[in-house]
Symmetry: C2
Subunit: 118 residues, 2 copies
């Protein structure tokens, strides 16, 4: 019964992912945060509110990619978005509590990097 692809396949996750995220929330967390762009973007928001093109420059992502990443992050509750529709529109992004909750993770990564990166 290793690879029974039951039609209860309503999730878009593979069964492997499902199995993993069931096991512990480390894996669940990794899967929710997922891509490098998400991490990098979240990390860039640590020091407070940023606007779209700031993030674009800071991360180096294309506007297309950044837009999609921010959409994802907002949908998942990691960031908040505040828009000013005045003359030149402005769009500000901040971390939610959920997003800010990742700071310890960043600190742990920072420590690790200090010891092991080059």
């Amino acid at each position: 019964m290793t690879t029974q692809p039951t039609d209860a396949d309503t999730e878009e996750k593979t069964d492997a992912e499902q199995k993993n995220s069931d096991l512990c929330n480390v894996v669940g967390a990794v899967e929710e945060i997922g891509t490098e762009w998400k991490l990098i973007t979240l990390h860039n928001l640590r020091d407070g509110e940023k606007r779209f093109n700031e993030l674009k420059r800071a991360t180096g992502a294309s506007s297309y990619t950044l837009s999609r990443v921010l959409d994802d992050l907002e949908a998942e509750g990691f960031v908040d978005n505040r828009k000013e529709l005045e003359s030149p529109v402005a769009s500000y992004y901040t971390l939610t509590e959920k997003g800010a909750g990742l700071c310890p993770v960043f600190e742990a990564l920072d420590d690790w990097g200090a010891n092991w990166l080059e």
Copy 2:
């Protein structure tokens, strides 16, 4: 001097990645660890030595993928590999100090997941 693709382009990183990893080691760490499979595999090795097919079952990765992931991790110094060439060959993987150094990161992720997942 934003996008001078100097022929000192011996790295395989894009300049965006380069810029990011220069900024801080959080991003550097994220880029080195990279894919979800690497994280999941490393995390599976926390509780000690595992062999190839154990990891294969535990992670759900295909042998092809797992093999490549382990190669990467070994090349980057995250895991050690010990082979026993007896009758049925056996191959054991363990975390190096560098790999084990990620445990605080896993703990931070675990904490975060406990608060924010599901």
